[in-house]
């Protein structure tokens, strides 16, 4: 990443020094056609999402399935080209970047997938899977040193060097997820998108992987964008949390603020659905069950997208889209009633 290239690719507004990732007004619409004669529709998977992530920080991205949290992660990774909006990483906008330039940045943003069974190429050994990105990015050109590096990475994620010779199908789910972590680490990234990295694992193994991720974060100064639907997991690892509903961020706050003083009715409903293993908090918890289903992102409701299910909805919610309002230091919510 030369200085010349950096200045050429720089976003219109350079992000502050400590900001690693800045997502501005991200929109991702998918065109769908229903049958040969049907009308073509537009799935508003992500509809104007903005957030930023500082170096070394973990931002939790939570919401029900289909709310666009995974798509947001994929847009940051540039696996999808967003319909509009900007994704600035280390001060450079990745959207619309020349493929050759983008390829050089890619090793700085890595990903850990949800399903450890399909995220590893079944035809490659664990050693090959981890060594490949190191070789391709020229991070270690000497094959012996590269194998040494693979060994170190395997040990670092809690596997043994002998695992390098195994094929993914010979490993357990937790072991495979560790391989996934090692593959991401191999490229020495500064940002890792964790796309529900523990949802497919047993509870006991979830904790191990979460602790591993936390350890690696402090050792390597990593930043995480942690996508999950499990609030308990997110609470453990995140510094700040963004709650998404139907392609929009409805609330974003520091961990303490969000869990202790949730402002948006949707956040409150989500939190009330989680049994909190803390008697003090558990006593104050009100059960609040949402009625109805998440509306289709093909045809989102007018005004506030949450109004058909909101227990507090007023007339204004049907007409006006609420903007994110600042409620305190780093605490924002999109609701007319806060």
């Amino acid at each position: 990443m030369s200085a010349v290239a950096a200045s050429r690719e720089q976003a219109p507004e350079p992000a502050p020094a400590e900001t690693l990732l800045e997502v501005r007004d991200l929109v991702m619409h998918f065109k769908v056609s229903r049958g040969p004669f049907g009308r073509s529709g537009l799935v508003r998977a992500v509809d104007g999402v903005s957030f930023s992530l500082r170096r070394g920080e973990t931002l939790g991205l939570v919401g029900e399935s289909g709310c666009g949290k995974t798509t947001t992660g994929r847009c940051v990774l540039q696996l999808e080209t967003p319909t509009s909006g900007a994704v600035s990483f280390e001060g450079r906008n990745l959207v619309g970047m020349v493929p050759a330039e983008l390829r050089k940045v890619r090793n700085r943003i890595q990903v850990i997938f949800q399903d450890p069974y399909s995220s590893l190429n079944p035809r490659m050994t664990v050693g090959q899977i981890i060594a490949e990105p190191i070789a391709v990015h020229g991070l270690e050109r000497d094959p012996r040193a590269r194998h040494e590096r693979v060994r170190d990475l395997l040990v670092r994620v809690g596997l043994s060097p002998q695992h390098a010779l195994r094929y993914p199908h010979e490993l357990s789910g937790g072991q495979r997820q560790r391989v996934g972590v090692a593959r991401a680490l191999a490229m020495q990234p500064s940002l890792i998108i964790c796309d529900e990295p523990v949802s497919a694992l047993d509870v006991s193994i979830q904790a191990q992987i979460i602790n591993l991720l936390a350890e690696l974060q402090s050792d390597f100064g990593l930043s995480y964008l942690f996508v999950a639907h499990d609030l308990a997991v997110v609470r453990h690892i995140s510094d700040r949390i963004a709650v998404m509903y139907l392609g929009k961020i409805v609330e974003i706050a520091g961990r303490r603020d969000l869990y202790e003083a949730p402002a948006h009715p949707y956040t409150r409903a989500l939190l009330s659905a989680v049994p909190i293993p803390d008697p003090a908090l558990e006593a104050t918890r009100e059960r609040q069950v949402l009625s109805g289903e998440v509306p289709s992102p093909l045809n989102p409701p007018t005004g506030c997208v949450f109004h058909p299910r909101c227990p507090m909805a007023i007339e204004r919610c049907k007409r006006e889209v609420p903007a994110l309002k600042a409620l305190g230091a780093g605490h924002e919510a999109a609701c007319h009633l806060v």
Binding site: R106, D115, S119, R183
Partner: protein
């Protein structure tokens, strides 16, 4: 440590292969029979100079149209050439053309199919329309036309048989590759910044191997049949080169009644070869299909 480093790139696979072969023979006896016939053909082709009793092109006017006997097990043809020797040497032609055409056809088809699925969008549309055009010609018509254009030498014959195989393979491989493309490990490869060719060759192609092998064995039978058909029509291999289709042509035109052995034995050889490849191909498909594996 050093042996670990050395073996990182070369995992020991031989024992797994032997086990898989044993398993295949036990579970798929018909496929094993097919494989046996194929192996027999290979032995005949490779050891032809050693096992053929006569020179396949040596003319012997003293023994013209001789019926099967102790001297000429399968008789002789109109030029007194030994039918058995010509059959044995003919397996060389059949295998060279069959393997050449189906390997090339299936490989090029697989590459087009995987690339088509990987890139998607306009490239996919463009490649698939070309494949549709090629598919709209019947196999033999397209091969005939190509031989007519290129002329009939063995390399041209291979090309003529290969071209109609490409779209058939591309179609099947594309559909498998479409599902592979959605696998997270392909996303991981893209997120790692790997180039298109690396993703296609290292991450997608090995994972459509099952479909590729099935197409390949199916093509082998077809290619041998097609080569025999073209030779029979006089557009394939030329005399005096020994080829099964050619032997059939010489025999069926004039000597079907007076010297039936001239037609029967090459006909049996063609049928047996095609049947063996089809049996093997079917069993291979079943063995590689995980949904049928438990049966």
């Amino acid at each position: 440590m050093s042996e670990l480093v050395a073996s990182l790139d070369v995992p020991s696979r031989s024992s797994r292969w032997i086990g898989a072969c044993r398993d295949f023979i036990g579970r798929r006896p018909l496929g094993a029979i097919g494989a046996g016939v194929i192996v027999l053909m290979f032995v005949a082709a490779l050891a032809a100079p050693l096992i053929a009793p006569y020179d396949p092109v040596a003319v012997d006017f003293a023994a013209m149209l001789a019926p099967p006997s102790a001297e000429h097990w399968l008789g002789t043809d109109a030029f007194g050439r030994d039918v058995l020797s010509r059959l044995i040497y003919g397996s060389q032609t059949a295998l060279v053309v069959g393997f050449g055409a189906s390997l090339l056809g299936a490989t090029i088809g697989a590459l087009i199919g995987v690339a088509s699925a990987y890139f998607g969008g306009r490239i996919d549309l463009f490649l698939q329309r070309i494949m549709d055009v090629l598919l709209s010609f019947p196999l033999i018509i397209l091969a005939l036309a190509l031989v007519a254009i290129l002329g009939n030498s063995i390399p041209n014959l291979i090309i003529a048989i290969m071209v109609p195989m490409i779209p058939r393979c591309a179609l099947v491989i594309r559909s498998s590759a479409l599902s592979i493309r959605e696998m997270p490990y392909v996303d991981a490869a893209r997120a790692a910044g790997f180039g298109h060719s690396r993703i296609i060759l290292r991450h997608m192609l090995p994972n459509v191997m099952a479909s590729y092998l099935v197409m390949l064995t199916a093509f082998l039978g077809q290619a041998i049949l097609l080569e025999a058909s073209l030779s029979f029509l006089g557009l394939g291999v030329q005399e005096p080169l020994p080829a099964w289709g050619l032997m059939l042509r010489g025999a069926a035109v004039e000597f079907a009644e007076t010297a039936p052995w001239m037609a029967i034995f090459p006909g049996v050889a063609i049928s047996l070869a095609v049947f063996a490849f089809n049996l093997f191909g079917d069993s291979l498909r079943d063995a590689l299909d995980p949904r049928l594996r438990t049966q």
